[in-house]
């Protein structure tokens, strides 16, 4: 097995990014079709920012809603995968640097990954 080069690492990251973005775009597009299924509804009231209700905040709620084919839940799921994609990219970078035995960059990318995961977990009030 020849050495794990920079180019191999970059190619694997690019492939993962492409898959992640396309997958989340398909989800959001599908959710958009569900959302626009009833075009005769009155235009939504956007002048006051209400934010999403609590049923859609947790990942369990989003998955349950998506199973019911609720438009908002499917879109939220797609957005969740979109946000997860750069986080997974950092993880791929870390693994790539580990395979290249580059200790400094393993430390740097794992610090970034820890910060990202911390903000995702502790972001709720």
């Amino acid at each position: 097995m020849k050495a794990f080069t920079d180019k191999m690492r970059d190619l694997s990251i690019a492939k993962m990014l492409r898959i992640g973005v396309i997958f989340s775009a398909v989800l959001v597009f599908f959710g958009g079709i569900l959302y626009l299924r009833h075009p005769l509804l009155p235009t939504p009231e956007y002048s006051h920012f209400l934010g999403e209700t609590t049923t859609l905040l947790g990942i369990a709620g989003v998955l349950r809603g998506a199973a019911r084919l609720d438009a908002g839940s499917v879109i939220q799921l797609g957005i969740f995968f979109l946000i997860a994609t750069p986080v997974v990219r950092v993880a791929f970078c870390m693994v790539g640097f580990a395979r290249q035995k580059d200790r400094l960059y393993v430390i740097i990318s794992s610090s970034v990954l820890v910060i990202l995961i911390y903000s995702l977990i502790r972001g709720r009030r």
């Binding site: 973005v21 775009a25 959001v28 597009f29 959710g31 958009g32 959302y35 939504p44 956007y46 920012f49 934010g51 999403e52 209700t53 609590t54 859609l56 905040l57 438009a71 908002g72 879109i75 939220q76 797609g78 957005i79 969740f80 979109l82 946000i83 750069p86 986080v87 990219r89 950092v90 970034v112 910060i115 990202l116 903000s119 995702l120 502790r122 972001g123 709720r124 009030r125």
Partner: protein, 120 residues
């Protein structure tokens, strides 16, 4: 929780996720480090993407993302960036620099205006 909020807000305010730090980073890389222009724009974009991922996760967890608004925005941004990545290879650097200068002047004027009218 309050301490987490404070640190998060401090970092977000410091980095100012969005257009402004992207412009600042591009200028820094282009002028101070003398990198090729296309390299500095794409690298700045990458850096912004990773830092935005942190705050985006928080917005999602707190329900600040409205699904009905986010859906067309996301699809539009994706289509735009796919188009742009094809264009970037072919565009002349001079054209890029002229457009960049115009945008940054407009951004500066807008910031001055917001500051003067107190709309920050």
């Amino acid at each position: 929780m309050n301490s987490t909020e404070a640190i998060v807000s401090a970092v977000e305010a410091g980095l100012g996720i969005g257009f402004v730090p992207l412009m600042a980073k591009v200028l820094a890389m282009d002028q101070a480090m003398g990198l090729p222009f296309k390299v500095s724009t794409t690298t700045s974009n990458f850096m912004i993407g990773v830092t935005a991922a942190a705050s985006a996760g928080i917005y999602l967890a707190r329900g600040y993302i409205d699904a009905g608004i986010a859906m067309p925005v996301m699809l539009g941004v994706l289509a735009g960036s796919l188009l742009d990545s094809k264009l970037l290879v072919k565009v002349h650097v001079t054209t890029l620099k002229i457009v960049f200068c115009l945008v940054i002047v407009a951004l500066g004027l807008e910031m001055i205006f917001s500051g003067m009218t107190g709309r920050i």
